[in-house]
């Protein structure tokens, strides 16, 4: 049904493929040129992802995808983030894809998933800040619906062909499918810490036919909630990749930078700091493993997601700022690539809830005193 595979050979194959792509394709001149531009990711690279089938990794085989699991997807983005080339997979091929996977079966859903897997359809989920459902209402017009309102945090909106819009009906939120260029849709942009675009969506009386209601109330919210948690686990993998890369950059620098006629990596104060970062990375590896091992069961998924996302967000943001410190002044420059990784880490740490937010969820689940 929904395999969260742990097929080691497939994971190894995806890892190798991603590592090759990172080796061949990473170009931080291009990374810099794409900052504060639309769509903010490389369309040629996205086409390569599509050819490799990576938009369909999490789409079931019956719907035209590869039908692999979160572990495979997490492996993929963990490697791709080392070259800062994972987008638009997280927003489109994970979050939006999983919302569709968990939506009730129907012709529209099947068509979308098949198109997604083929790389022709690029959906994005419309949310408000802090993973809230957007302030959008849907009025039943008898024949079709009329949607109005705003969604202030739409990751992956740039380059999206379709928007998945949760909108309030009489009995809760339903999930609607809108072409990104439908009349009445306007998108403006905020810039994330890494200078990639975050969509802010305004719907002004957008009229849609009945068949674009992908999921009725209850089913829509359940699908979104589950997809958010699954994406948290995969995003934890992306954060771990950034963590590993920044730690490796820092250790390398400590092994070449000399002061007082010594390599700075020989100073015990710095060694202990580096070890603490390594330990934090090891904790993140364990937390991601915990998350992946419990993500398939919807009853254990929320804890799995918050543990993985919380720890990996903490690790990435901590190592980001300590990496600047350990690089010294060069780490504070625009010229050095470290800053690109730091900003990406801050972006992904905050997205779908940083460590503090995940702790808040932990407390609200009654687990602090358990």
């Amino acid at each position: 049904m929904d395999p969260i595979s742990t097929d080691d050979s497939m994971i190894a194959e995806l890892r190798d493929g991603a590592q090759r792509l990172v080796a061949d394709y990473t170009d931080h001149g291009r990374t810099r040129r794409m900052r504060r531009t639309l769509p903010g990711h490389d369309l040629e690279l996205a086409a390569t992802f599509a050819e490799l089938g990576w938009f369909g990794v999490l789409v079931p085989e019956a719907d035209g995808g590869i039908g692999l699991g979160l572990a495979e997807m997490a492996t993929l983005v963990r490697e791709l983030e080392k070259g800062l080339i994972a987008e638009p997979l997280l927003a489109q091929a994970v979050l939006a894809a999983r919302v569709l996977v968990h939506a009730p079966a129907g012709p529209a859903r099947s068509r979308l998933l098949a198109g997604l897997a083929a790389g022709e359809i690029r959906p994005a989920l419309a949310l408000d800040f802090d993973d809230a459902l957007p302030t959008v209402t849907a009025t039943d017009e008898g024949e079709g619906f009329r949607l109005s309102g705003t969604a202030l945090s739409v990751a992956g909106a740039a380059g999206a062909t379709h928007l998945l819009v949760p909108a309030q009906l009489d009995k809760g939120y339903g999930l609607f499918l809108l072409p990104a260029d439908a009349p009445g849709i306007t998108l403006s942009w905020l810039w994330r810490a890494d200078d990639s675009p975050l969509g802010q969506l305004t719907l002004t009386g957008v009229t849609v036919p009945d068949e674009v209601l992908l999921a009725p109330p209850m089913a829509a919210e359940a699908a979104i909630s589950r997809a958010l948690d699954e994406t948290r686990v995969v995003a934890a993998g992306a954060l771990l990749g950034l963590t590993e890369h920044m730690l490796a950059m820092t250790l390398e620098y400590m092994g070449i930078r000399r002061q007082y006629d010594q390599l700075i990596g020989s100073f015990q104060a710095l060694q202990h700091k580096a070890v603490d970062l390594y330990i934090e990375k090891e904790r993140a590896v364990a937390a991601l493993g915990f998350g992946l091992s419990r993500a398939i069961d919807p009853t254990t998924l929320p804890l799995a997601a918050l543990r993985a996302k919380g720890r990996c967000s903490e690790a990435a943001s901590r190592i980001a700022r300590e990496a600047i410190q350990l690089h010294g002044a060069i780490g504070f420059t625009e010229e050095h690539d470290l800053g690109l990784y730091v900003k990406r880490a801050l972006t992904l740490s905050a997205w779908l809830g940083n460590a503090g937010e995940q702790r808040r969820r932990f407390v609200s689940m009654g687990l602090a005193l358990a």
Binding site: Q271, Y278, I279, R283, A286, F290, V363, L369, A370
Partner: protein, 382 residues
């Protein structure tokens, strides 16, 4: 003879639990690190009588022959039941070291006497000038006929006040690299020249002692692993047990007390307190996950390396931080010693806080383990 390894993990755990519940008296189940022999000998002898004393030893020597995975389960059950360690050096270190490095005569002589509780062992490694830098030790052993004559000063010797034997690292060659001139010698403490002086800990316990050795004699036949080979012998006994130092068992017991004190102190709905407890709960859970991953490797028969240093740091520092928060959320009562009264119960806050300092020091301080990781895992320059 029961083949424990043939049982499923669950069945073995149940058997261990039943043995403990049946035979372990309540007064050594208070989670104290060490208790005196007069309180603990009944439990030691019960374990010996029922074959549960020496989990890691081979069956033919009176052990349980447990594979490491089962051994870990047994240790987990001890921890769950809050059982104190009772004169563990013979079982934990002397037996394995003799089986690995001893002569057949040493094995035949000493192992049965550990099982029978005739020999109670302590470990003579640390010295006033040789703690983390153990190889700097200055205790000397010179050969006089067929005996060593040993002079020196050992310190932080757990169980020395009750022990009648000590295994000693002593310098037998001063003209070589410091690690290369050390020998591992078994010494009977029941002779003139051995003076044991208890050290009272910050907690008021007398679990440690100083051991003074003045012209103390041991037969040359008590040398283990060859002359000047003691450093290697000593390294080998710091093996498997180090895995256990990274388990979350101490942290879990401390967390139970933290949650209890949060309720006693009326802080169980305070958002600030809940957030900080949540952080520690998550840290502890990640410690458990890291430990479980290592345990799985061990179960699969894989070897382990420096990840034990990582786990040791994580486990001991997490444990310590839990006791720190426990003391802090008690507010003014955190400044009280002994059993502190709350409206609906009492708790000893200071003792846990102080006890948690020790694991960050013994078995290599957490700073020494950071040095090890920096050089051996991160490859940073020396």
């Amino acid at each position: 003879m029961q083949d424990w390894n043939a049982l499923s993990d669950e069945a073995f755990r149940a058997a261990a639990r039943q043995f403990i519940e049946t035979h372990c008296p309540a007064h050594i189940r208070r989670g104290e690190e060490h208790v005196r022999w007069e309180q603990s000998q009944g439990w030691y002898k019960a374990m010996a009588a029922h074959g549960w004393l020496a989990p890691g030893w081979p069956v033919e020597h009176g052990g349980m022959g447990l594979k490491q995975a089962k051994h870990l389960i047994y240790l987990e059950e001890w921890a769950r039941a809050g059982i104190s360690r009772v004169m563990e050096q013979g079982v934990l270190n002397v037996g394995p070291v003799l089986l690995a490095h001893g002569t057949p005569e040493q094995v035949a002589h000493y192992l049965p006497r550990i099982v029978s509780a005739e020999h109670l062992w302590c470990q003579g490694f640390s010295e006033p000038g040789a703690g983390s830098d153990l190889a700097a030790l200055r205790t000397e052993a010179r050969i006089d006929g067929d005996e060593f004559i040993i002079n020196g000063h050992k310190i932080w010797t757990s169980g020395a006040v009750d022990a009648n034997h000590i295994f000693v690292l002593a310098r037998t060659d001063k003209n070589v690299r410091k690690q290369a001139g050390i020998s591992f010698i078994l010494v009977d403490m029941r002779q003139p020249g051995v003076t044991v002086k208890p050290i009272v800990t910050i907690n008021g316990d007398a679990e440690f002692a100083e051991v003074f050795l003045d012209d103390v004699r041991a037969p040359v036949a008590n040398l283990v692993g060859g002359l000047n080979n003691g450093w290697k012998v000593a390294q080998s006994l710091l093996g498997f047990e180090r895995v256990w130092a990274g388990s979350p068992h101490m942290g879990r017991q401390a967390m139970d007390r933290l949650v209890r004190v949060a309720r006693l102190a009326g802080r169980d709905r305070d958002p600030v307190t809940l957030d900080r407890i949540a952080q520690l709960q998550i840290d502890l859970a990640d410690n458990a996950e890291m430990y479980e991953r290592l345990a799985q490797e061990i179960r699969a028969g894989h070897s382990f390396g420096f990840e034990v240093s990582t786990l040791k740091i994580v486990a001991t520092e997490t444990y310590a931080r839990i006791t720190e928060l426990t003391q802090e959320i008690a507010a003014e009562r955190g400044g009280l010693g002994g059993e502190v009264p709350f409206d609906e119960g009492t708790a000893d806050l200071l003792r846990d806080y102080l006890t948690a300092r020790a694991p960050m020091i013994y078995g290599g301080t957490v700073q020494i383990h950071r040095n090890i990781l920096a050089k051996r895992v991160l490859g940073l320059p020396g």
